[in-house]
Symmetry: C2
Subunit: 276 residues, 2 copies
């Protein structure tokens, strides 16, 4: 019977079961790999493979020289990407700001979570080709000086825990006419409103979703170890009233603890309210 299933699958199934049943409570430490190896009478590598499975499913967090722990049950923080407020039907920016900057904090507060973000790190750098494409920058041959962009990066936290990383890219020319983009400080009125005052009204956007393994930097920020869950990457290209792309925002979410959502048309109020 058990012959059809590999040993490590069997072990992973057992651990998964214990977690789901609650025999292993959230944040509890799993038995050490050595202990598991003895209990199942298998070699350490087999245990590692089993634990690896659970890590990829997001059920377990492994902290390198400490141990593996049952992941906190998705403290579901819901990020609604296409609304900013529940007030006026025609409030400025309604339907156009969610998930970014101050909207992120507001959304959290509505759900009775505490959100904060780091001071933006501002960097001027050579544009990567994806960024150029999105921002409508014409590429130049590799032997010539490359076009540059301004990147504003923030780390975002919910209830003190790492939640997402956000990078916004702007053409350098835009940053020169809207210099707050170059300051490593929050833009008081919000980026959308600020840019609107400088003549770039956000009239629409295009969103894309992707899943990919975390980069080294993201592993560190989220406190994950290698072989963890994939991250969700949300890319928003914002267009102004002339139909020109003027902002590219890439947000990387740790999945499991985030629910990323969109709402269209009429849905019951309690759907909007639903936080956790």
């Amino acid at each position: 019977m058990a012959g059809r299933v590999s040993r490590y699958t069997e072990i992973a199934d057992d651990l998964r079961d214990q977690i789901k049943r609650g025999a292993l409570a959230p944040s509890a430490q799993l038995p050490t790999e050595k202990e598991l190896a003895e209990r199942w009478d298998v070699s350490p590598n087999t245990i590692k493979k089993a634990v690896n499975e659970l890590r990829q499913e997001g059920l377990v967090d492994t902290v390198p020289q400490k141990g593996s722990f049952v992941a906190e049950p998705a403290a579901p923080f819901v990020i609604t990407l296409n609304h900013t407020d529940l007030g006026e039907e025609n409030a400025p920016g309604r339907g156009f700001g969610g998930g970014e900057g101050r909207a992120f904090v507001a959304e959290a507060e509505r759900q009775e979570h505490r959100a904060n973000s780091s001071k933006p790190e501002v960097q001027v750098e050579d544009a990567e080709s994806v960024h150029m494409k999105a921002l409508g920058i014409t590429p130049v041959p590799p032997d010539q000086p490359q076009p540059q962009v301004v990147r504003r990066s923030q780390q975002r936290f919910v209830d003190g825990k790492p939640n997402s990383l956000q990078h916004s890219y702007f053409k350098l020319e835009l940053a020169i006419e809207a210099q707050a983009l170059l300051k490593s400080a929050d833009i008081e009125e919000g980026t959308v409103a600020y840019l609107q005052s400088r003549g770039h009204v956000q009239t629409g956007y295009e969103d894309e979703f992707n899943a990919r393994p975390p980069k080294e930097e993201e592993l560190k920020f989220f406190g994950l170890s290698r072989g963890s869950l994939a991250v969700i990457e949300h890319t928003r290209t914002a267009y102004d009233q002339r139909g020109e792309p003027f902002r590219l925002t890439i947000t990387v979410y740790k999945p499991g603890t985030n629910r990323i959502r969109f709402i269209a048309g009429d849905v019951p109020a309690e759907v909007w309210e639903r936080g956790s």
Copy 2:
């Protein structure tokens, strides 16, 4: 210098580099694990770990008893989830159908891809709690007969290749008053239009995104091996004119070959047109 980086990372980096440079062309077979082990003078397990990295990044597909192959470059099929057509501003369903059923095929044709989907598999089954919650079904104690739902599942292909799996769930009562839901056949006019004719007008929906490792069934359908890229799961709960949830659709996409997108407000026409 190389001492700081683990051996398998080094090997993965080298292979990744060869793929990106084109030294290993798409669909070409990688050197066998044995060969790599000899070339790098490491043990087989180290090679496996390196190849595993590339699999998780979607750069390589491994076919168990045959070999590892460079993945085809993402033939990007763009699925726009919130529009059905580019015609009339107020065309029925505009903004409300994208990505589902016939809309999927239409979207593909616009991008000059050929899409088709399998005949729907219809199953009546006990509702899982997450489905009950979404459809607003009140749970009953586990010792009583469980509420049931109708599941309609389709496999979807683009250019003959597996693209996504879609499962739609309906309350059993709804299927009784709208019996086409119970037939294992495409609904000619589209599910949204059909249900509208039965008194359930789709007035809004809520979308959620998640990333998770593929299930066994999905591995098989997508032709992936274990440890591959995460799949993207898109959940749509549709609400009718009374504000009642009446349909739950879960679509599982193989990432890399799909770009999943949303559009809001005004964007230039070429953004809509952008297929590949």
